[in-house]
């Protein structure tokens, strides 16, 4: 039994490492000399660590520092807004009964089927008209509304026993009190999950930034990365140093919040 267990673990470990080989290759290449990039068999540990590619990414007039600040600003504000607004709506959809609620929920469901491409052109025109095109607001404002978030939290709120609110009702508390003092504290893990997933979406969002930002000073990390790579398309080491810079924050967030992310995704999918 332990022999099989060890063997299976070993095989899965090899497969698992194969899954992250592109990242290992990326990091290793970012420290190589140009001559070592395509050396085969692959040179995993560079002969000497070349830091200059990373220095190039982080200094100069197109520093990743600016992109990081822009991404952080957009991701943090959007995530806080989206988490709070989703929780509010999810409470309404799950714990208050009123006429028209199901019809409204149907609108939400149908909007999930509409591809973002349908919305790009009209949003572009609307943002242009409202004067927020090519500003961070073009990403932050729509980013505060996530239909997935409402779904996920609604699912969670449905599972909170009704007895809890009934007891509070008898004590004279209203829905607002129950939401803030009872349900929200109970939902902390679900809120954390949504916040982490949402943050990763905003951080990785390339498509919206591509459509709504033109000013290089406003670029987020994915756009900055693309920009860097287009301008340095023969410098493979630099490209990989830039890619590393683009990925590292998400890897850190993942390592810290792994449990939340995995639990959240599986509970939203299986119970939903």
């Amino acid at each position: 039994m332990t022999v099989t267990k060890t063997l299976v673990t070993f095989i899965m470990l090899i497969l698992g490492i194969l899954m992250v080989v592109p990242f290992l290759w990326m990091i290793s290449t970012s420290f190589k000399t140009p001559a070592e990039v395509f050396e085969y068999p692959i040179r995993w540990i560079p002969s000497t660590l070349q830091w200059d590619h990373h220095i190039k990414v982080w200094t100069g007039d197109k520093s990743f520092g600016t992109y990081y600040l822009n991404s952080l600003k957009i991701s943090i504000i959007s995530t806080i807004g989206a988490t709070f607004l989703s929780a509010f709506a999810a409470y309404g959809f799950s714990r208050i009964e009123f006429k028209g609620r199901n019809a409204m929920f149907l609108v939400y469901i149908s909007m999930m089927m509409v591809p973002p491409q349908v919305l790009f052109v009209p949003k572009f025109i609307m943002f242009e008209w409202a004067g927020i095109y090519n500003t961070h607001w073009a990403l932050i404002l729509p980013g505060m509304f996530t239909i997935f978030g409402v779904f996920m939290l609604r699912q969670f709120f449905l599972s909170v026993p009704h007895e809890i609110s009934e007891a509070a009702f008898i004590d004279g508390a209203g829905h607002l009190r129950i939401f803030f003092n009872l349900v929200l504290p109970l939902a902390k893990p679900a809120l954390a999950t949504l916040a982490i997933i949402d943050f990763s979406w905003h951080w990785n969002d390339y498509e919206n930034a591509l459509v709504f930002l033109i000013d290089e000073k406003l670029y987020t990390v994915p756009l900055g990365l693309q920009n860097f790579i287009l301008e340095n398309n023969v410098d493979y080491n630099g490209m990989m140093a830039a890619a590393t810079a683009g990925i590292i924050p998400m890897i850190i967030v993942f390592l810290i919040g792994q449990r939340f992310i995995i639990q959240g995704i599986s509970s939203a999918a299986v119970k939903g």
Partner: protein, 293 residues
């Protein structure tokens, strides 16, 4: 519980849903309606005169060779979904058995999904490099003299993107399968064992049918998510070489923001919507045959 109470409940309902609803109306509903209107216009980027052109855009679409090519490419792209679902089922089965370092293994498989973005696109671009890239270097080493050109040739580029996409989706599907597998009662598996069912037969006749609602969910959400994606392709190939990786969603983007044909782009985007609708409806009808609740 009179009328008053019901009205109060409704006001409270609006109070809670309202803030979010305003955003959903502003950023989803109104643009969707607006886009439907644009479909019948010749609106171009920043151009002041806009004309109603009736169904001209639709006619143009049906005569557009790239549109058909884009549908074909999209279908090839979608092949990645069942492929990654099947592979992730196998991985989840094994990881659900007794293995050491379970959570580390889970994290390794899941990693690509969290790091989605242009960064991985560029990494794969170099890995797939036809002449010197490590993937082809490896293939040559094991005796394949003429390895594929991957992203550089028109007949392989879409499949290269499929490989990236299978890799990307695998961890997500696996996590959801793992959760589903954990809900299967051990009694059922014990009973099957008592009846003499072993190994593959248990998987084929008991486990696979039991997780079929999960498979259905993964298929439907995976297809919808995949059909909407274009960032990764825009970053690596911009639809090339030729139009070999121009999928529908990218085709919309290119028409709108590269050629500034916004009315036409709106039309293609609605074609995309109808394909999503079609996939969803066909799946709902088809599920009765193989999904066991």
């Amino acid at each position: 519980m009179g009328n008053n109470w019901m009205r109060r409940q409704r006001m409270l309902g609006y109070l809670f849903i309202g803030p979010n609803m305003i955003g959903v109306i502003l950023f989803f509903v109104i643009p969707a309606v607006y886009s439907f209107f644009l479909m019948f216009t010749d609106y171009k980027f920043m151009s002041p005169d806009v004309h109603m052109v009736g169904l001209d855009n639709v006619k143009r679409l049906f005569h557009d060779e790239i549109f058909y090519k884009a549908i074909q490419n999209t279908l090839v792209f979608l092949l990645a979904v069942p492929a990654s679902i099947f592979l992730s089922f196998l991985v989840a089965l094994v990881l659900n058995q007794s293995v050491y370092i379970k959570s580390t293994l889970r994290a390794l498989f899941f990693m690509p999904y969290i790091t989605s973005g242009v960064a991985i696109a560029f990494v794969w671009m170099l890995l797939f490099q036809p002449k010197e890239g490590p993937i082809n270097a490896f293939l040559r080493m094991i005796g394949i003299e003429h390895p594929p050109g991957w992203l550089s040739t028109t007949d392989t580029s879409m499949y290269a993107i499929d490989i990236i996409w299978v890799w990307f989706m695998l961890g997500y599907n696996m996590i959801i399968y793992l959760a589903a597998l954990q809900e299967i009662s051990t009694d059922l598996l014990e009973a099957a064992k008592m009846d003499g069912a072993r190994g593959w037969r248990v998987i084929r006749h008991i486990v696979w049918p039991l997780v079929s609602p999960t498979t259905f969910l993964l298929l439907i959400t995976g297809l919808i998510m995949t059909i909407k994606t274009f960032g990764i392709i825009q970053a690596i190939t911009q639809g090339g070489p030729g139009n070999s990786t121009t999928i529908l969603s990218l085709f919309v983007y290119q028409n709108a923001f590269r050629y500034y044909e916004m009315g036409y782009a709106a039309t293609i985007s609605w074609a995309l919507f109808f394909i999503i609708l079609l996939i969803t409806v066909v799946q709902w009808i088809g599920q009765k045959r193989w999904v066991h609740y």
